[in-house]
């Protein structure tokens, strides 16, 4: 709860910095503030009374862990994206929007009432819509913002209607009360089924699962590269955490209704995302499709429908977010010099840029799920929790997907060693810092996975 207050006040400070004219240091203030928020989040671990404000939000251990993942990602993102803030005119606006989107994300992982879920999703989405269009002179950025806005509002409509159906059946917005209602042989099951269907559509859109993914590649490609990195880490983490919490808590006893649908969605997402990613010639678009395929893996945790699934999800989202931020830092550093993100631009960079290459190799191997890096254990824990209740069919599909993904992740690495180029990509100090922190965390999480997954 304190985290929510701190993040909101930081955002407010961002607005004040424009008026009181200290906007040159607002970026640093935001980083320090997030570090403080991270510290305070950690102290809320094992909170004796996790409920606040008439059970509107609950900061139990799972929410605290997801909040910590979001804030860590936020800090790394702020460090890696200094170039996004170098335009002096908009620095305060952009910082404020990013901080407010973190408020929305924290609401989405800690909600205990569907109204909070809805408001959290709206806060997050509206800030990201604007950020996606923040490069005002660039047509593709405008297109991306417009597309995201229209599609996102449409999906929110489905979500809201689903909430209304569930309320109509159970007469409550509280997820525990809905759970009690579901477990005691509910009346009006038709309303429940349709409500779950609509909620599945709305939330699948937010995590960009196939077949609700059509917006993702265009939006990811058009938006400024740092915003793409924000969308594929924090937005995805918050959305899958909300998905997991709602489906395992409230609808955990109604698996017959949503399990077959979600199983198909997860399988198709993994396969389609990976296959289409193979044919991309642009690194940014490749990462967009790889993000889609990762949404499929994340859905395994929802299907696992047990506590281990939640633990695995926390580990996986952290590993995925760190690797993705490292990958995007590399891509944006290259794009700064070469002006685009095609694979061609990466040719021959391997010879003279040791840090860049090591970071690329480790983040790609981690995303592909190769031991001993964090991504491998993320996938392993997800599969393990899924197998507690289910057969191996979907796991085989997921493994085939992983095998395909190795091809395109390696293609980026191989491209870096092809051809001769003496070019040196200059990295800013903070970019170097992010790459080094990312490399260390990815290896450390892979070597001792119990560090994060120690359980509670």
């Amino acid at each position: 709860m304190k985290t929510l207050v701190i993040l909101s006040s930081l955002g407010f400070l961002g607005i004040l910095s424009e008026i009181l004219n200290f906007k040159k240091i607002i970026h640093k203030i935001a980083i320090v503030g997030l570090l403080v928020a991270l510290g305070i989040t950690v102290t809320e671990w094992d909170n004796p009374i996790p409920m606040y404000f008439y059970n509107m939000v609950s900061f139990d251990n799972q929410s605290v862990a997801f909040t910590a993942v979001i804030i860590i990602t936020g800090i790394l993102w702020l460090l890696s994206s200094i170039s996004f803030f170098d335009d002096e005119q908009h620095i305060a606006d952009k910082t404020t929007l990013v901080l407010f989107s973190l408020v929305g994300a924290v609401c989405m992982v800690s909600y205990h009432n569907l109204t909070m879920l809805f408001i959290g999703i709206e806060i997050l989405s509206i800030c990201i819509y604007v950020l996606a269009g923040s490069k005002k002179s660039d047509l593709s950025s405008n297109e991306s913002a417009m597309k995201y806005f229209l599609m996102g509002s449409f999906a929110t409509g489905f979500l809201l209607m689903g909430i209304a159906f569930i309320y109509g059946a159970s007469a409550s917005f509280d997820i525990e009360e809905i759970k009690t209602y579901m477990e005691n042989s509910p009346k009006n099951t038709e309303l429940v089924y349709t409500g779950i269907l609509l909620l599945t559509i709305g939330l699948s859109f937010k995590i960009s699962a196939v077949p609700f993914h059509f917006w993702a590649p265009d939006v990811y490609e058009g938006a400024p590269i740092q915003v793409t990195s924000l969308m594929s880490t924090i937005v995805k983490t918050a959305a899958i955490a909300a998905f997991f919490k709602l489906f395992t808590t409230s609808f955990g006893s109604q698996t017959g209704t949503w399990e077959p649908t979600l199983t198909w969605i997860a399988g198709i997402t993994v396969i389609a995302g990976n296959i289409i990613a193979v044919f991309q010639s642009n690194a940014k678009r490749m990462l967009a499709y790889s993000g889609i395929s990762h949404a499929g893996y994340l859905l395994l945790a929802v299907l696992a429908n047990n506590e281990n699934g939640g633990n695995a999800l926390i580990y996986y989202t952290l590993a995925y977010s760190i690797s993705t931020i490292v990958a995007f830092t590399v891509i944006s550093s290259v794009a700064n010099v070469k002006g685009n993100t095609d694979f061609e631009s990466f040719k021959g960079l391997g010879k003279k840029n040791p840090l860049l290459v090591v970071a690329t190799i480790i983040s790609m191997l981690s995303l592909a799920g190769i031991p001993p890096f964090a991504g491998f254990f993320g996938k392993y824990f997800l599969f393990e929790s899924y197998l507690e209740k289910h057969g191996v069919e979907l796991i085989i599909v997921a493994l085939v997907g992983s095998a395909i993904s190795i091809y395109y992740y390696f293609r980026l690495i191989v491209t870096m060693f092809k051809g001769d180029s003496e070019e040196i990509i200059t990295l800013t100090l903070t970019a170097k810092l992010v790459l080094i922190i990312g490399i260390i965390l990815t290896i450390a999480m892979g070597i001792c996975p119990d560090m994060i997954k120690g359980g509670w």
Binding site: G11, Q89, F100, L191, L197
Partner: protein, 165 residues
């Protein structure tokens, strides 16, 4: 008596809702949308939600529709220049939309609902709404201010004039 009012309002809402989609001229669409909003506000009054009905008219029919009309007139969009969509997109849209409609109709056909107003006649009265908004729902109410602030900052950022360097 209320039954007839209900059916009349529903007929009006659905008819004008269809006209919003089918009319060629965007200005007409907006005007039909106003009628839809008034019909829905009538439904709110039938459900004993006076506050919601008034807010619905003031905010939607008043503010948002005026905004729509302004934008349409400023951008001069009243020339119908809809892009032609591919046939398979239309077919896919009709099939999936029709299936959703079927699901919704079947759902409502089977649902056993009991109007809350029969249990408690004061439900939905503005005083009760205010009490619940500032007690149980205080946090969502307050956190919506972050949403509004975010939207405001975003609007200002997008509309701010760029200084040429």
């Amino acid at each position: 008596m209320t039954h007839y009012v209900f059916y009349f309002l529903s007929f009006l809402a659905i008819l004008s809702g269809l006209m919003v989609v089918f009319s060629k001229n965007p200005i007409h669409s907006v005007l039909y949308l106003v009628i839809t909003f008034f019909a829905i506000a009538g439904h709110y009054i039938l459900l004993n939600a006076q506050f919601l009905a008034v807010v619905h008219i003031v905010v939607y029919a008043g503010a948002i529709m005026v905004l729509f009309l302004y934008v349409l007139m400023l951008l001069n969009l009243n020339v119908s220049a809809e892009p032609v969509k591919k046939t398979w997109v239309k077919v896919a849209g009709v099939i999936s939309g029709g299936m959703l409609l079927l699901t919704l109709v079947a759902t409502f056909g089977k649902a056993e609902t009991q109007p809350l107003i029969q249990k408690d006649a004061t439900i939905g009265v503005t005083a009760n709404l205010g009490k619940i908004l500032f007690n149980e729902f205080a946090l969502p109410f307050e956190i919506s201010s972050v949403l509004l602030l975010g939207a405001m900052v975003g609007a200002i950022m997008l509309s701010k004039k760029e200084v040429n360097k």
